[in-house]
């Protein structure tokens, strides 16, 4: 008798951790913590926003920020976000930061992140997720697009890492309809004009079998929030 497979075989086949290629590399921002800058205000942010935050700060000539990014992949386990942010707040405080701002929306934490913010008397970005604050929280709430699947610049770059691989679509394309059968459209909320990213987002829509729409948002409420700090 031979074939068993199952739990024992699966536990033996788990793979290794990724390698870092500098703090702004998308794979680094996806899987690792990254510290950029040494200003007096600590920005604790999702790694998915790092490039956009730095672009806004550059445009504003703002040099008073120390950006402390947490791995963007936490979004695939939203229950880990609030504890990770809380740990980072404690670290930032122990590093001497008195002013701290949280660059996360609720991000699927179901209010847990707000609890952390209340406990530490710090504020966060408005809205339920980054799609909302890029497009404008109020504007997006009025759209009522329940059958739209969103990508941002970061997610267009990292579509395979955040969608194809964790959902097992490369190995099991037959699962596509189970995940996306109720969606009708992929909306690419573009922060920048980048033909390469638009092509990637369009190809993601094709992979998922969804209609494609590109909507330029710029940095939306993220820019407003950073400008006020």
């Amino acid at each position: 008798m031979t074939r068993r497979g199952g739990r024992t075989a699966r536990l033996q086949s788990r793979a290794a951790a990724p390698v870092s290629r500098g703090p702004l590399d998308v794979d680094t921002l996806t899987h690792q913590r990254a510290n950029i800058g040494a200003g007096r205000v600590a920005l604790i942010a999702c790694g998915a926003l790092a490039r956009e935050i730095l672009a806004v700060n550059r445009a504003n000539g703002a040099e008073h920020f120390a950006l402390r990014c947490l791995p963007a992949i936490l979004h695939n386990h939203p229950e880990q976000i609030a504890p990770a942010v809380e740990r980072e707040i404690s670290l930032a405080k122990s590093d001497g930061y008195e002013e701290i701002f949280i660059l996360y929306a609720d991000c699927g934490t179901g209010g847990a992140l707000d609890e952390v913010c209340r406990r530490h008397d710090v504020a966060r970005l408005p809205g339920p997720h980054c799609y909302a604050f890029f497009e404008g929280v109020e504007q997006q709430a009025t759209r009522q697009e329940v059958t739209s699947f969103y990508l941002t610049d970061f997610l267009a770059r990292q579509f395979d890492t955040f969608v194809t691989k964790p959902l097992g679509l490369a190995a099991h394309p037959e699962l596509k309809d189970l995940y996306f059968g109720n969606y009708e459209r992929l909306v690419y909320l573009a922060q920048t004009d980048d033909d390469g990213l638009t092509r990637k987002a369009e190809s993601a829509a094709e992979t998922l079998g969804l209609r494609f729409e590109r909507r330029f948002t710029g940095y939306g409420d993220l820019a407003t929030a950073l400008s006020g700090l």
Partner: protein
């Protein structure tokens, strides 16, 4: 899996070996092998109910535990669920014919504004496997859909699912409506979904928050038994 490991012939295994192999095949999402195993056990005279509970439901229990513990991930659970579904497709008509025990009736749906149904579908399938009759309302359900189904099917359990933090508050709208109509206590209300937790379930007035499909089945059985006991006492 290496080629030399695929030489197994399911029909040559004894019942115990075959049951364990079916647990592993379910774990690995092997649809055809599960269907073959079910047919072999039927030929050996197992009742459909025994096959369902001892191979499929028990096997999915292992999958549920390993999903909870972070050993298995969503795609693997879905493949396992698909394998179970293929086994169920053989057993379901036979279960009806043989009058397998029914534990109760459930109405389940994803709430208004939410189109995510993976978790809800898993719960519906596992509940059916455990012996519940399930009415699946599908996705994006307003309170009216629940009320209509409750009146029509007279369930023991009302189940609500949501994946989004923006839609989970709608569960409270449904429970509040049941309260307003004076029928809240006629039903067991169970809620689930990735952003929910026990505290939220309590805050909106549900009877139970269920972290995953396996927990939902156990909770449903326990609450139904408790209800029967309180009626009997």
């Amino acid at each position: 899996m290496a080629d030399d490991e695929q030489d197994i012939i399911l029909s040559e295994l004894n019942d115990e070996e075959l049951t364990l192999q079916m647990h592993d095949d379910l774990y690995d999402g092997l649809k055809d092998e599960i269907m073959e195993g079910v047919n072999i056990l039927l030929e050996r005279g197992w009742t459909p109910y025994d096959i369902l509970t001892r191979t499929l439901v028990e096997g999915m229990g292992i999958v549920g535990i390993d999903f909870r513990d972070g050993i298995l991930f969503v795609p693997e659970v879905l493949l396992a669920a698909n394998a179970m579904k293929s086994g169920m497709s053989i057993l379901k008509p036979l279960l009806i014919e043989t009058g397998a025990p029914r534990l109760g009736r459930m109405v389940i749906g994803t709430v208004k504004g939410d189109i995510h149904d993976i978790g809800k579908n898993l719960v519906a399938m596992m509940m059916e496997g455990a012996g519940f009759e399930v009415t699946d309302l599908g996705i994006n359900n307003a309170v009216e859909n629940y009320l209509e189904a409750i009146e029509r099917d007279q369930p023991d359990i009302v189940g609500m699912s949501a994946l989004l933090t923006t839609t989970m508050p709608y569960m409270k709208v449904i429970i509040d409506t049941l309260v307003e109509k004076g029928i809240r206590d006629d039903y067991i209300v169970m809620v689930g979904g990735a952003p929910l937790n026990e505290e939220f379930g309590k805050a909106i007035g549900a009877d139970a928050y269920c972290r995953d499909a396996a927990v939902a089945v156990e909770t449903a059985k326990e609450l139904i038994a408790r209800r029967h006991n309180s009626v009997g006492s």
